[in-house]
């Protein structure tokens, strides 16, 4: 894992001291709220419905056991014994008190973490594939580049007041598990004719009020020029992005309104100026940072097949977990494990302090001290020996984290919604809980197979509803929470935005509505192997609409 250099350590320390002073001045009344608000937001401190909320960055979703223990300690000492992992691969604490926040930031700094740039119109935490550095299908580990982008974008003076926030996602694999086409910039590893690895650059994707699929602005940017290219895009955006209208200020609108070709020409013009300049990455620097992400000392193991059928007979719950929560590793004899934060009826993404400690233990013992947070609000042990899977599973059972539902219908994304969020129109978590209960039976989940339900409590779409195979969007109408259902979204390389099927449903009616959609799929799929999203694409909306609203 990356270790802070002097510069990183100094800026985090300085910022913590600065914020501590700002909090004191707020408490004594020297600063009023109008003055203080932007300062606290720059340090990830929001005011929500019931309390403050501190959003802590988990750089590209990577954590060590020690860092996870610190998060557990913060949850226990300053909060209510739990944290909420988000679709931005971050963690949020829902109940900190203002005077404790400087201390929390100092605790975070002691494990090389912070809450800087988790709010505001700047470049936010870079997100990536939760299996980065482990996945069998990966061309290159994207984390060294993610780290370089983190360093470049941290406190970047030119990009501290962009027209709007800016999110970059990166993946080193052809299968897109990081939803890169729905970010302001998406980067996907690519190889050129000479066999060099570089980056496909996608621009102008996003969710929210105006969902858009990113467009490829460059099919191959060499690794050493990537920062110069990113800087060129940011400059064009910073100059021309619409500061006049908050709803039109994201780069997706600029790209949409001006057209990809116009933006591309501007970016290329800028790139020709800066290319080869100070942002060119020297090989030593690439090597230095790359060395922090060197593969751990894997043993040479033979490929170890897992006999899921046999294990299922012996222990069905373990069999299910093996079937769903194990992901192929590039090293024979190893696997990546998804730790589901979606127990039946739970709040998606929540973990208690004890669970965080348990996960840290497992990471230290069985996964070379590495952990990941996924954008689907789960945790990952990236490098587990197949021979240790049972021991890991047993540890997870003890911690209440052994739900074998990764990728299934109960593995939903849900944003905090109106239970916590000041911007929400409707609740998300109780909807997720009700659907989870409805489909709790493991046999039923297995029969349905891969199905992604994503729920947002308002049009900001933190719950990624637009890219849910089934998306649920909470709205408010005449004092009642209503839920619009969308169908056919996909956040992967087969990117698509879901379509609204019709008028919204009241909360109590949502689980039945989802069941009707699932029943259409089960009745109409060509084979049991045809996944939900494929059936939707083959049949179109009509039969699903009919199931919800009758013949029109």
């Amino acid at each position: 894992m990356y270790r802070y250099d002097e510069f990183d350590a100094a800026f985090v320390r300085e910022r913590t001291a600065q914020f501590s002073d700002q909090v004191n001045r707020r408490l004594t009344g020297e600063l009023n709220e109008d003055q203080f608000r932007p300062l606290r937001l720059m340090n990830g401190l929001y005011l929500q419905l019931h309390a403050y909320m501190l959003r802590v960055a988990v750089p590209y979703g990577t954590l060590s056991g020690r860092q996870m223990r610190k998060l557990a300690h913060i949850a226990r000492t300053y909060d209510r014994g739990y944290g909420h992992f988000t679709t931005r691969q971050n963690i949020q604490f829902n109940w900190p008190r203002l005077k404790d926040v400087p201390e929390i930031l100092a605790e975070l700094a002691s494990v090389e973490m912070h809450a800087i740039q988790t709010s505001g119109n700047c470049i936010r935490n870079v997100t990536t594939d939760q299996f980065a550095g482990a996945a069998a299908d990966e061309i290159i580990d994207p984390r060294p580049v993610a780290e370089i982008i983190r360093q470049w974008s941290s406190l970047h003076p030119e990009f501290s007041y962009l027209p709007r926030k800016f999110k970059i996602a990166i993946t080193g694999a052809p299968a897109d598990r990081a939803a890169i086409r729905f970010h302001d910039i998406g980067l996907q590893a690519a190889t050129n004719a000479a066999g060099d690895v570089g980056w496909e650059v996608w621009v102008g994707g996003g969710l929210g009020r105006t969902p858009m699929i990113g467009k490829m602005i460059n099919g191959f940017v060499p690794n050493e020029h990537l920062l110069a290219y990113l800087e060129s895009i940011l400059r064009v955006y910073n100059r021309y992005g619409r500061r006049d209208n908050k709803y039109k200020a994201r780069i997706k609108i600029l790209v949409h309104e001006e057209g990809l070709e116009t933006i591309k020409a501007q970016v290329e013009a800028e790139f020709s100026e800066v290319r080869g300049g100070v942002l060119t990455l020297p090989q030593e620097e690439l090597d230095r940072i790359g060395s922090y992400f060197a593969p751990p000392s894997f043993e040479d193991l033979p490929a170890t097949p897992i006999d899921i059928a046999r294990e299922t007979i012996l222990d069905p719950a373990y069999g299910r977990w093996l079937d769903n929560n194990i992901f192929s590793h590039y090293r024979p004899g190893y696997a990546s494990v998804t730790i589901s934060l979606k127990p039946i009826g739970g709040a998606p993404g929540d973990a208690t302090d004890a669970q965080m400690e348990a996960v840290a233990d497992l990471a230290e013992r069985y996964s070379f001290d590495e952990l990941r947070v996924s954008h689907e609000q789960n945790l990952v042990l990236p490098h587990v020996r197949v021979a240790d899977l049972r021991a890991v599973y047993d540890g997870l059972v003890e911690a209440g984290l052994a739900e074998g539902n990764a990728g299934l219908i109960t593995d939903m994304i849900a944003c905090p919604g109106l239970d916590f969020c000041a911007l929400a129109n409707a609740r998300s978590i109780p909807i997720a809980q009700a659907i989870s209960h409805k489909f709790a039976a493991p046999e039923r989940q297995a029969e349905i197979g891969d199905l992604k339900i994503k729920i947002s409590g308002c049009i900001n779409a933190c719950g990624h509803h637009h890219v849910g195979h089934i998306g649920i969007l909470g709205v408010e109408k005449k004092g009642t929470e209503l839920y619009q259902i969308t169908l056919g979204g996909d956040g992967t390389e087969h990117a698509s935005v879901g379509k609204i099927l019709g008028p919204g449903f009241v909360a109590d009616a949502v689980p039945d509505a989802i069941e009707r959609l699932v029943d259409v799929y089960l009745g109409r799929r060509e084979t049991p192997d045809e996944p939900f999203i494929a059936t939707v694409r083959r049949l179109g909306d009509a039969p699903f609409k009919e199931a919800l609203y009758g013949t029109t």
């Binding site: 109940w95 008190r97 203002l98 709040a347 239970d419 109780p430």
Partner: protein, 101 residues
């Protein structure tokens, strides 16, 4: 009818202005402003802002239902009751969290 609400600075807790000019945790104790009390209401807003201790003072409309104050908006009902899922008790005001105008 209207009430005044905001969040107390130190704890971030949702609070309401009561009839004695104290900012309290319970919506049932909130001072009810009738339509023709706009002047008193606005004076209370100004005085509350002047304390620097109540963040985001807002006017909310409410009804009396069975002797209880019930906010018209769901958002405000959830603020008054605490998160519903998972159900958590509301943030408590600390000892230093009492603000009066």
């Amino acid at each position: 009818m209207e009430i005044l609400t905001g969040n107390e600075l130190l704890s971030g807790a949702a609070v309401y202005l009561d009839a004695d000019g104290n900012w309290v945790a319970e919506i049932d104790r909130a001072r009810l402003f009738a339509k023709d009390e706009a002047e008193a209401r606005d004076a209370a807003i100004a005085a509350s802002k002047a304390t620097g201790r109540i963040v985001g003072v807002e006017i909310e409309t409410v009804k009396m239902v069975d002797g209880r104050v019930v906010a018209d908006r769901i958002r405000e009902r959830i603020r008054a009751e605490g998160p519903t899922a998972p159900a958590f008790p509301r943030q408590e005001l600390g000892e230093d969290g009492h603000v009066s105008i």
